[in-house]
């Protein structure tokens, strides 16, 4: 098999040099992190006064973990290490309720991110001749813009469709002979199930590759998709705290996702003890940014569970391979690629005066797509809040909101409260 590299020297760098490079970059990152309000205090407590205190990669353990709650606590500028005029973009996590998190980018940060995505694309064997249809939502959600810039860097022809509108997606795939798409696996299966209804057949398409991410799925699902569409499907991993897509990506051998370790330190830890686990042992993924100036993050606990494959990949890349995500250490749900915490749903529905005290969130499959059903009891003036069996604390009085209503609905105004991608039609 032909192997293509974006930058062969860094992608196949020997492990010793890679570790040396990581150490160098880590020291710089720590010095940079010390400029932020948050790490100044956090690292001082841990006895790390400068990057020089890290003598070897073994000293990484001296650095305390950073959690999602830490990031929330830093909102808005606790983790900002440069002047605002150097920042040219910011991405926030969804959260009209609760506290969001924010990641700032300088021009060089965006450049590095773009380069990692371009590297990932090249690793799958795609190139500038490809027609790339991006079906991930554009905007604050990093899935859309992340791949957009990477594909543009590679020189592909980009069709920036964003999510939803299945029929139009198919029409564009047909008319522009799209060769590569970026999509969630559930939406991919949804497209398959709607082909006939929308008046298309697989012969209409010229599809070669699909980049699939933003939600967990099994190897069987990948195989099924590859078989149904007669394409290669590649796993993609990323999270907005670590830029977005382009953190880890599969190469043509599709045996685990190469985590770009010149840009991130990847650890797998036991979520209970915090100890680093050996290869092939499943645990929580922890990342440290090595190239990001505006928002450095040290030892970030992703709450995603996975393991690292043993041995060298046939593609000769030395960057270690991450397994697919096997679970979460918290109760976050991923619904059609959108991260949803049950507490977010609760906040939204409890603001609606007509809703009583009890609710239940049900996740179902409707065809290939996830369907979220929220069952609520209706508030009755006569009876007050109904208690069914369980003793639930009285509903807090929240100001009435109209954001819940479908007022703002319409295809250009989808995904009212939860952010990210909600498929808008079909």
């Amino acid at each position: 098999m032909e192997i293509y590299y974006r930058d062969k020297s860094i992608e196949t760098i020997d492990r010793i040099s890679l570790k040396k490079l990581q150490l160098e970059k880590l020291r710089k990152t720590i010095d940079n992190a010390l400029k932020t309000r948050f790490y100044k205090e956090r690292l001082k407590k841990a006895g790390v006064k400068s990057g020089r205190d890290i003598k070897s990669m073994a000293d990484l353990e001296k650095i305390p973990f950073t959690t999602k709650d830490d990031l929330r606590g830093c909102y808005t500028d606790g983790l900002l290490s440069v002047n605002m005029d150097e920042v040219i973009r910011l991405h926030t996590s969804s959260g009209t309720t609760g506290i969001p998190t924010v990641i700032y980018h300088t021009r060089s940060d965006l450049d590095n991110w773009t380069e990692l995505v371009a590297r990932s694309i090249i690793a799958t064997g795609a190139n500038k001749k490809d027609i790339f249809q991006n079906m991930m939502t554009y905007g604050l959600f990093t899935g859309g813009l992340g791949l957009h810039y990477g594909a543009e860097r590679v020189g592909m022809t980009v069709i920036p469709v964003g999510g939803g509108n299945t029929k139009r997606q198919m029409q564009l795939m047909k008319d522009f002979k799209t060769t590569v798409i970026h999509i969630t696996p559930s939406y991919m299966l949804h497209i398959y199930s709607k082909l006939e209804e929308c008046g298309f057949s697989l012969n209409d398409f010229n599809l070669k590759k699909a980049y699939m991410g933003a939600e967990p799925y099994s190897e069987n699902t990948r195989k099924k998709i590859e078989r149904l569409f007669n394409i290669d499907a590649y796993n993609s991993y990323g999270l907005s705290e670590m830029n977005g897509p382009g953190v880890a990506f599969e190469c043509v051998y599709k045996t685990g996702m190469h985590a770009w370790e010149d840009a991130y330190i990847m650890e797998i830890i036991d979520p209970k003890t915090g100890r680093t686990l050996p290869e092939e042992m499943e645990g929580e993924i922890v990342f440290t940014t090595l190239d990001r100036r505006a928002t450095p993050i040290l030892r970030y606990r992703t709450r995603d569970q996975a393991f690292v494959y043993k041995g060298l990949c046939k593609c000769k890349r030395t960057h270690r391979r991450l397994s697919r995500i096997t679970g979460r250490t918290d109760d976050m749900l991923i619904i059609n690629g959108v991260n949803v915490f049950p507490s977010q749903i609760e906040e939204v529905i409890m603001r609606i005066p007509e809703v009583g005290n009890n609710y239940q969130v049900q996740l179902e499959k409707e065809g290939a797509l996830d369907k979220l059903i929220v069952k609520v009891e209706i508030y009755s003036k006569k009876k007050g809040y109904r208690y069914e069996g369980k003793n639930i604390a009285p509903r807090p009085e929240l100001p009435a909101s109209k954001d819940y209503a479908a007022r703002d609905s319409g295809s250009n105004f989808v995904s009212q409260n939860l952010g990210g991608i909600l498929w808008q039609s079909n």
Binding site: R89, G95, T96, T157, V158, Q416, G419, S425
Partner: protein, 433 residues
């Protein structure tokens, strides 16, 4: 600030030389690379050698919306597909999409003109911008994004919708500039008040509003509601997207970047140029594009052009606000809608006859609402509510997936839609802009 002083403030004589030079090149380029234009020019008996100055532009053939449809998908491209870096499509008048292909240079050019536009609005490098135009195939979001990036602004790429989130981000990060449709800006004010936020205390000082027609009275309303400066941006995806023209601080017309987009105003009936300053259809020739240059593209927007030097120092001519359309297109929430598109959708649903009417309304502080009124025929009538509801849903969904817009559907009794001389009145626009 003026982003590209050299081009934007050039004396008109020099500007004319540059325009002439670029037009000559463009005519040669499309004649050589686009079979469509070669044929068109041959038919009109004009050869690139005949183009000696910008005044010869009238010899060139006119391009119309229907050409876009007939050339679908690639026939209007002058660059080979492998040199096309980005593709944007919008729904066309019927059936086929309207496609625009950008080469890498075109994207750079777009970023440049958008940066000029943002500077017109009053933006300066280092400012923060909240982009609330939709991102994706719609050119509003990415166009502003590229321009802001070029200028060195800090971008919050929110995209459209999610009003609460928009307000929270404004509150938390204090961006100076807002880019969205003017009606959405007013809509956000209502929401702000409802959650106890005083719009006049917002961080937004400058707004770049467009994608739909709006009036001076709306400008006054936005400015007093939000205590900000509201400026108008003009563009259409066929030409590049936003960034074709923009108002400066004097708000006396929109500076069109005529070294890149050459404007003419013609009488839509005779296709002849109108007298200087008179009203007619705006026709634009792209002078610098590579992917899909257009010769004399009829925008169907009705404007007049003012060639006087502006107090801001820019010499680039100013187009008036859009005074109307030469076709029946309406703009709903920034999305272009042709009645023919709706008709096309309705006819694709079994049992529906093309007896319909579009009602557009905008209640105070609300967004545009499009209602599609459809006469019920015997064939589709069922005595079960759920079947009729399902039919409504189907129509909504089809309109949504074809036009990318949310429409209410109202089923009415046969022959109740107002007809004039046997022909139904297709659009009722109740909006007071």
């Amino acid at each position: 600030m003026i982003w590209n002083k050299e081009m934007e403030c050039m004396d008109l004589e020099n500007l004319k030389n540059i325009q002439s030079e670029r037009l000559k090149k463009t005519a040669e380029y499309v004649y050589k690379n686009s079979p469509f234009y070669k044929k068109k020019m041959d038919q009109k008996g004009v050869h690139p050698d005949d183009i000696k100055s910008i005044d010869d532009i009238v010899k060139l053939p006119v391009t119309i919306k229907e050409d876009m449809r007939d050339c679908y998908p690639f026939k209007l491209f002058s660059a080979p597909l492998k040199e096309v870096s980005e593709i944007h499509v919008s729904s066309g008048t019927t059936g086929n999409f309207t496609v625009v292909g950008y080469s890498r240079e075109d994207i750079r050019l777009w970023a440049e003109v958008m940066a000029r536009a943002l500077a017109c609005a009053g933006a300066e490098p280092g400012d923060m911008i909240q982009i609330a135009y939709g991102y994706g195939l719609f050119t509003g979001g990415l166009g502003f994004h590229y321009g802001a990036m070029e200028m060195g602004l800090t971008i919050i790429p929110v995209s459209s919708g999610q009003t609460k989130r928009q307000l929270k981000l404004m509150n938390d990060f204090k961006p100076k500039i807002l880019a969205c449709t003017p009606s959405y800006c007013l809509y956000m004010a209502e929401e702000a008040r409802e959650i106890g936020m005083d719009p006049r205390k917002s961080s937004w000082q400058i707004g770049s509003f467009g994608a739909e027609p709006w009036s001076e009275s709306m400008r006054k309303e936005i400015e007093s509601t939000w205590d900000m400066t509201a400026t108008d941006v003009y563009g259409l995806s066929e030409i590049t997207g936003p960034g074709v023209a923009h108002e400066c601080a004097y708000k006396k017309g929109l500076h069109i970047f005529s070294d890149v987009f050459y404007p003419e105003v013609i009488d839509p009936k005779t296709l002849k140029s109108v007298k200087k300053g008179e009203t007619g259809e705006l026709v634009i020739t792209t002078l610098n594009k590579k992917g899909m240059p257009l010769l004399r593209y009829g925008t169907r927007d009705v404007v007049s052009i003012n060639y006087e030097r502006c107090a801001c120092g820019r010499t680039s001519p100013r187009i008036s606000k859009i005074l109307g359309r030469t076709d029946d297109m309406i703009i709903v929430r920034g999305i272009n809608v042709f009645p023919s598109q709706i008709e096309h959708v309705l006819l694709s649903i079994e049992g529906i006859k093309p007896h319909y009417q579009l009602v557009v309304d905008r209640r105070a502080g609300e967004l545009d609402e499009l209602e599609v009124v459809v006469e019920v025929e015997e064939k589709i009538f069922s005595d079960e509510m759920k079947s009729l509801r399902a039919l409504e849903e189907k129509i909504k969904k089809e309109i949504g997936s074809t036009l990318g817009i949310f429409a209410k559907v109202k089923l009415v009794e046969p022959k109740t839609i107002e007809r004039s001389e046997g022909k139904a009145k297709r659009v009722i626009d109740k909006r007071a802009l």
